[in-house]
Each structure stands twice: as C-alpha cells, then as structure tokens.
Amino acid sequence: MNSLVHQRCRVYTTEKVTIRILEEWCKGCEICVDVCKKHCLAMDILGKVKVVNVEACNKCLLCDVLCPDFAIAIE
Amino acid sequence: MRASVGLMQGNEACARGAIVAGCRFYAGYPITPSSEIAEELARLLPQVGGKFIQMEDEIGAMGACIGASLGGVKSMTATSGPGFSLKQENLGYAIYTEVPCVVVNVMRGGPSTGLPTSPAQSDVMQARWGTHGDHPMIALAPASVREVHDCTIRAFNLAERLRTPVILLYDEVIGHMREKVELTDPSQVAIVERPKPTCPPEVYLPYKAGEDDVPPFVRFGEGYRYHVTGLAHDERGFPTQNPRVVEAHQRRLHRKVERHRDEIAAYETFMLEDAEVAVFAYGITARSARAAVRTARSEGLRAGLLRPISLWPFLDLEVGKLAQQVKAIVVAEMNLGQMIYEVERAAQGRARVAAYQKASGEPIHPEEILAALQEVR
C-alpha cells in the first residue's frame, strides 16, 4: 500500500512482494523488527533496519503502517 | 449608506468604520468599555454577509481573527486594557507571520481590573511593547467620534497594505460619548486590499518581499499551499534558526514599517505657527489641550498644540522640529508617564519637556493644562 519508488531505497523483491527500505530515514527504533511475526527484518550493525528473509514476508503490513519514520514500504 | 449627519457613539463609529473598510469578520469577548463595538458588529456584519463570533476568551478572539484573515477576510477584534493584555501573545504572532488585522483597545483605568468604566491613556506603551520580542508596531489614536470612524478605516487600509496588525487606541470617554458627526459617503472612501502574488503557485514564496518589503499575500485554499508559523521562518515560511535568515527577516519587518512612515504618520497642529510653548497631547486629552490653548491665547500666551493621530511609529521628526521652535513642551496624558519619555527622547534637550499627568480615572480638564502652560511660559 505504501510506495517509496521515488526515493533512494534499498529494494528486496520476490514474485510475491517488494520491500523497500529508506535507510536514510530509519531512526532504528526497531518497531518493525519487533512486530514482524515472520522474522523478515533485523537491525544491521549501524542500527538501521535490513531485510534478512524476504521470502518469509506474508504482507501483513504491520511494519509498513507502524514505522513512524516512513522508512519501510511493502508492495 | 450615504453621507450622513447624526448623533453617533464612538464605539458605534468604530463598528461602522470597520464595515466601510470591508471588515467581514469580528471575533471578540465582552469587556467594558469596548463592548458596544461587538454589539454593533453582531448586528451589522451579517447584514453585509460578514460573520461575528463571541469567543470563549480574549485569546481565542485574537486567534480567530488571525485565522479568518488567513482565510482572506478582513478581520477585527476589540477589547480594553485587561483583554488587551491577554491578546498580546497572538498579537505578536500576527506581527511575525504578517497577518493583517485590526485590534481596538478602548482604554480604561488600570493596572489589573482597575476602573472598567473610567478613561485612561495608560496602554500606549503596552500597545508598543506588550508582546514579547523585537517588533515594529502601528497604532492610531483618534480624538473624536468622527475620527474613530476614519481611523478605523485607516487602520484596515494600513493593515492590509503592510500585512501587519494595526492597533486603534482610544479611551472610555471617546468610546462612550455621542457626538455630532458628518460621515463621508462610503463610496468616496479609498479602500486598500492586500497585495496579491502575480507568480504561479510553484514559485510562490509566502515571505519573500518585493521592493517595498511587503510580501504578497494569498488566502488559504487558492492553490498556493504554504506554511505559516510563529517560529522564526525563512522566505518559504518554514522554521529556521539560521542566524543570517532570522536577522534578515527581523530587519525586514522593521524596515517594512519604517519605510512607510510617511504613509502612516498623521498628526494635527493647532495654533502652532508662532507658538512659544506647546502641548503634546493625544486622544481625549488633546481636546482639553485645544481648549486650554484657546484660553491661553486669549490671555496673551502664545501656546499651540501638537496632536499625534498616529502614536506608533513615534513622530520623532515632528517632535524634534517642535523642540527647536518652542521653549517648552507640556506632555499631557492620563497616565503617570508614558509618551513623555518618547517626547524627551525626540526633543533631545532642545526644549524643556514638562509633564501634566493624571491617573484618577477622570479626563484632564482644560484648566489643568492651562495652568501647566502658564507654569512653563
């Protein structure tokens, strides 16, 4: 539902889903990591979110709607 | 409305002047001795398609006034001393965000609740410095019912022309008294509208001023989407703490008023040509001063009167010139020392500056000013 196509995003994609991460805007609150029941997301050593298992994403959109920093988008 | 002669109250003249000036929004809160302005506008505004609202407090009234003005409607609020104190924060907001509006203060005795039904002239410094921060200010002080009407129109014209609040200051006596007035046909009155942008929305900068230091204004909802904030802001209207931008903005606000000083400045001189002593008096006190000058002349004392109609910006040049001409200036005011300090500053020691001050809740009587003139002759 959220698109970040115009931004400098890191894109993770499969046939089912595209996850875009706008690292610049991520403040590292970890909300997305904590709410993801499929453990698709994790924090990198710089404290930014990264996708560790794009295959597991079931598009529940929790990370998308709960990221307070507009840094993650699920298509 | 046509040109008319009739009996009119000061506060009523203010309300009628507002309608002629194109005021179509009033927000206020009841307070003596200004309430008749609200009562009159509650009746008149809907007749011309305008809107009146009695707000829950003075602060809200000032806020609503600014909101309506951003909606593109000429707006006004009126109050008296204590209410004027409450409005100060939002008044500063209107100055900084350059939202035109007219604020009337019908002065009564203070401080605090003071004398609700008695006159004073003790808010002239509050008008100048009541809101915090460094800012310019425009204030007009009419001395008759007719002048209340005309100054209200002028206040709107200046507010719209310069995108800034303008204060109208007069006292309880002028607000409440009824007087014979002869009003000009409203169709003959010059009405000023706020400057509009000529550029398309994409390049519009809400706080970028032209050569006259006044940025063009566009009301909300016309496709020119922009931000208004009381935080220090740049030409786009966005908050900034960049010292260079902040300083430039502050200086432009001052320059905007200063460079239009001649447009704002208004005063009346009475028997001043060959005067050796002069009275400096405004509002109701100027009427007593005029009577005193007449009597002084009949007794052989060459007295004259300088009556400022615009109080702020202060008439430095005019007072400076007066100080070169006369040997003494009596500053008569219904407070224990406010405008006298401005007169002293402008006189620069070139003439003696003497005070006649009164803070009893009664207007100064002509005989009191006459005695003061005789003392300095």
Binding site: - | L7, P116, E172, R178, E179, K180, R287
Partner: protein, 179 residues
Amino acid sequence: MRYEVRISGEGGQGVILAGIILAEAAIRDGRNVVQTQVYGPESRGGATKAEVIISDEEIDYPKAGRIDLLLALTQEACDKYSGDLKDRGAMIVDSSQVTALPPGGFTLFALPIIETAKEKLGKGVVANIVALGTIAALSSAVSREAIEKAVLARVPTGTEELNLMALAAGFELAGASSQ
C-alpha cells in the same frame, strides 16, 4: 456659547433616551453637540444622568462641569448631581419627588412631571418626554420644531401621538410655571 444640560433621575426613567433626543434635536437645529452618560455599576439602579453639551463652536472638552440647566426627577438624583450647577443656572425638579433643595442662586422650576405623565397621559413611562418638553420650553437649548422631530424619530412606532402629547404637556407645564 456652550450650554450644558444634565438630565437626571433613576434607572428605568428613560433619562439616557431623553439625553439622546435632546442631542439629536440640537443637531436638527444645526448646532454642535456632545452627549455623555454614566456607565457600569453606577448606572444600575439608583441615580443616573445624561449630559448634553450644545454649542455653535467646536466642543473641545466633552464632559459637562458647569451645568446651565439641571433636571432632576428624583430626590437622590438632585442630591447627587446638583453640585456643579452654575450659580445662575436653572433647575427643573419633579415637584412630587424632590422636596429638599440644595442652596444656590439658581432659578427653580418645580413641576409635576411624573404626575402629568401618569394622570394626564395615563403612562408613567413618558415622564422623560414630558421632562424634555419642559427643558425645551424653559431654555433656548433647542427649538420646538427640532425637539418634536427628534422625539418622533426615536420613539417606537405606534407611540408617536402619545409622545407628542407628552412633549406638549411638558411645554404646557413650563408655560404655566413661567407665567
């Protein structure tokens, strides 16, 4: 010449309206005029007053202070507001209400204003208009034509005749008194 009139009585007697009508009559005569009154707690109940200054010149100081003509409809108003009546001024009092008079060199007219309104006209509320009639008749403040027109312009529709009768009754009282 500056001419100062003070109309006094108690709240509800229409004293302020009488002041406004007098002022408007003076304007009809082509003169300058300022009208003031008391506001606030002082105007609620008890004594109240309206003042009218009439002049051919510009009126600088707008407050009355040397009264040429004082009208008092109550004893309290008379006591409270007669202090600055000029030595040779005129005082009109309601004869049924005002019995104790202040000392002074004024000319006194004690007239049954309220009684006339109540009994002759059947409406106590028009006492203020009767009073205006006496003022117009006993002073040169306003012309009879002007005061008649001013009354007609201010009173509620349907009461014009009653008010004109009240005004005439005032003139009559004054005429009887000055004969």
